[in-house]
């Protein structure tokens, strides 16, 4: 999450050049398979739906989506469309000054809806600050997500209400919370699972490595879901790792798999598999959803400073929503009426969010002193009282 300078911006650069990649020589001793490179086509990439909307067979993962009905497919499509609509609305609300900042998920809808819809109600989610699609799947009211971006709170929903934890801004820290929570699930003898979202950039944080260690050692029922959207603000994935991120897991003793993050079916299948592992006592799994941040890092960011348009164009062809639409149309699982109705619903959602945000009241000034402690603290009481007296002194001054 980044608030940036409003200082002068440099002109758009057309070249999509990356910060120099380190010349990595292949070595003989690693048993890890080396992939073609972080941005090419991936041999290990699990993909059930091609960018053209064709359903491809996958011996290992097909069974996890075998029972998906046309209605469920339409549901996934609807989730993605509404999430994107909500996201676009939030971006424009930021432009209008209603929000201080927005972190768009544009392009990552399949990764979030696919994984989010794989979850059971009793599973628990630890998001970053960009999981608006997952929040949607959990039933968190979209408006609630906007509180922190508007600056009225630092998290506006009850984490326990939908088993969806608050957004976490300090990169990577939530992976440890997820691991601890999962250790608790195991202690309780429950068969729920926990899922921790994080980004490609986050994979470099010590906390993420420690969460891998703890979850492996305690065999905790947690799925690490890394959305590799190719960028950590201005830094390409090569600045975080010289091998694909999913491979990180094996050195900690649990499996990692890379899935096409723009393929909602693939994400659903792979996440179900990973969750099933968690439930059945097989411990942690790392899923790397290979996707793309189609927008800026946040509304404060200017991606033209560090990446070219070609890259975005190439990824646009792999758009997650487009490919499911193609599949729905080709397979006649959805008709014009469905799409038209969704369009209307989508607009209604936008309107509702817009109105709700505009109506969102500023917090009471005394909220500063609320919830600092659960059991109270003498100094907070004292400062609250001083603040009240100070506020009252203005009231006293009357017309001044």
């Amino acid at each position: 999450m980044t608030v940036e300078s409003t200082a002068a911006r440099t002109p758009r650069r057309s070249a999509g050049s990356k910060a120099g990649t380190t010349g990595t020589k292949r070595t003989t001793r690693t048993t890890a398979k080396k992939d073609a490179g972080a941005k090419g086509t991936e041999p290990q990439l699990v993909q059930l739906l091609t960018p053209e909307g064709e359903r491809v067979k996958n011996a290992e993962f097909d069974k996890y989506v075998a029972g998906v009905t046309p209605e469920e497919l339409r549901g996934l499509y609807r989730d993605m469309v509404l999430t994107r609509r909500f996201d676009a609305e939030a971006t424009s609300l930021q432009r209008q000054g209603e929000l201080g900042l927005w972190a768009s998920l544009l392009g990552q809808e399949a990764a979030q809806i696919g994984s989010g819809r794989a979850l059971r109600d009793d599973d628990y989610v630890f998001p970053t600050y960009r999981e608006h699609g997952v929040a949607w799947c959990r039933g968190v009211d979209p408006t609630n997500l906007l509180g922190m971006f508007r600056g009225v709170n630092n998290g506006g929903w009850d984490p326990g209400g939908n088993n969806f934890h608050l957004y976490t801004i300090v990169i990577g820290s939530q992976t440890l919370h997820a691991t601890g929570y999962a250790m608790g699930v195991a202690k309780d003898g429950a068969d729920s699972a926990v899922i921790a979202y994080f980004g490609d950039g986050a994979s470099s944080q010590g906390d993420v490595a420690e969460s891998f260690t703890f979850s492996a050692v305690y065999n905790a029922p947690v799925v690490f879901f890394c959305q590799n959207n190719q960028w950590a603000i201005s830094e390409p994935t090569e600045k975080q790792s010289r091998v694909p991120i999913y491979q990180r897991a094996q050195g900690f003793g649990f499996p990692g798999v890379r899935v096409d993050g723009n393929d909602v079916l693939g994400c659903l299948a792979v996440t179900r598999w990973a969750l099933e592992r968690a439930r059945s006592g097989e411990g942690p799994t790392l899923v790397e959803a290979f996707t793309y941040r189609m927008g800026a890092h946040t509304t404060s960011d200017d991606p033209t400073r560090y990446r070219g348009d070609e890259e975005r164009q190439a990824w646009e062809a792999k758009d997650p929503i487009l490919r499911l639409r193609r599949y729905l149309e080709a397979s006649h699982h959805a008709d014009e009426g469905f799409f038209a109705e969704l369009e209307t619903e989508s607009e209604a959602l936008g309107r509702r969010v817009r109105e709700a945000v505009r109506a969102m009241p500023d917090p009471d000034h005394f909220a500063i002193f609320e919830n600092v402690y659960a059991d109270g603290h003498a100094l907070v009481d004292e400062e609250r009282a001083q603040f009240a007296a100070y506020q009252a002194s203005f009231a006293d001054e009357g017309g001044n």
Binding site: N153, N154, G155, G156, D158, P159, G160, G161, H165, L166, T168, V170, S173, T175, L176, H177, A178, T179, G180, Y181, A182, M183, G184, V185, K187, D188, G206, D207, E210, S211, T213, F214, V217, E370, N371, V372, Y373, A374, D375, H377, A378, L379, V380
Partner: protein, 325 residues
């Protein structure tokens, strides 16, 4: 039942009682299991409560606190051990940005009943990083409570109360007093966790301290008494919140205050106490609040620690300087 026991043993008994009375209480840390911790504070607990309640963790402090946060979210009440004061810093981010702020961030929806036990302070002849007093670095952070017992009875009861608290408590254990014995009444109903206690009444000057320095202040009061000076000794017990009311009450009587702690004076708790008490007691003070503490230098090697740490002479010197005003 009242029983004489060492401070370390009192904490051990208190942890045992918590484990017995609440199935959600967990003990976590490096070597807390079979070894019973390097100071044996968790001795026997894993044997009696099992590996699922008393957990040897990987060697990673951020991981220890971060997973404790997650366990708290799941309804557990983890008591985590940081092996030594100097090793809390890898966990500092999780403590400051997560543990301390989660309750506020959630607008009160979630609670963080986590106790972070830290054996702290010097005087045991240890190597680097094993003798520090970092309490200021936690007291400045809203959302944390910071306490430090000075004797076995307080250690027992304050641990009970810290575990029962729904707020995160940084529990600083004065390691050089681990073997000091005191009467512990496990049935007495204690006063509030964050209230200071007058250890010894006096009229000429107040000595305020917490944790390992309370005993030193008592000795200083004894020595001063021989010279006919009547010192009041306050055991602050809690660094956040700080019981300014009790300090104020004492200073209004004695009109002089000396604060003693092992932590460096610069930005130490003595500064906060001096600033606030001077504001509260401006017309009462006959002398500026004086501070006795560590120097602005890394904790020195063991053979220099006696020069570095507050001792009887330095406390009495400050008392004399205050009385000379």
């Amino acid at each position: 039942m009242a029983e004489k026991m060492a401070l370390a043993k009192a904490i051990n008994e208190s942890l045992r009682r918590a484990l017995e009375s609440d199935p959600k209480v967990l003990i976590m840390g490096e070597d807390v299991g079979k070894l019973g911790g390097v100071f044996r504070v968790t001795d026997g607990l894993q044997k009696d409560f099992g590996e699922s309640r008393v957990i040897d963790t990987p060697l990673a402090e951020s991981g220890i606190v971060g997973t404790a946060v997650g366990l708290a979210l799941r309804g557990y009440r983890p008591v985590v051990e940081i092996q030594f004061d100097g090793f809390v810093f890898p966990a500092y981010d999780q403590i400051v940005t997560q543990l301390a702020k989660m309750h506020a961030r959630s607008l009160g929806k979630v609670k963080m009943p986590v106790v972070v036990r830290i054996p702290y302070g010097g005087g045991i002849g240890a190597v680097e990083h094993h003798s520090e007093s970092p309490e200021s670095l936690f007291a400045h952070v809203a959302g944390l409570k910071v306490v430090s017992p000075s004797n076995a009875s307080d250690a027992y009861w304050m641990m009970q109360q810290a575990i029962q608290s729904d707020d995160p408590v940084i529990f600083f254990e004065p390691k050089r007093r681990y073997w000091d014995k005191d009467e512990v009444n496990t049935e007495a109903i204690p006063g509030p966790l964050h209230k200071a206690r007058v250890v010894r009444e006096g009229t000429d000057l107040t000595l305020a301290a917490y944790g390992p320095m309370v005993k030193l202040c008592q000795e200083a009061a004894d020595a001063a008494a021989e010279e006919g000076k009547s010192l009041e000794v306050l055991d602050l017990r809690s660094v956040s919140p700080l019981d300014f009311d009790s300090v104020q009450a004492s200073v209004e009587k004695t009109r002089r205050l000396v604060v003693v702690h092992e932590a460096p004076v610069f930005f130490g708790s003595g500064a906060e106490i001096a600033a606030r008490i001077t504001e509260r007691c401006f017309y009462h003070l006959e002398a500026p609040v004086l501070r006795v503490g560590g120097y602005h230098a890394p904790y020195p090697p063991a053979r220099l620690e006696e020069e570095y740490l507050p001792n009887l002479d330095r406390v009495l010197d400050a008392v004399d300087r205050s009385l000379a005003y």
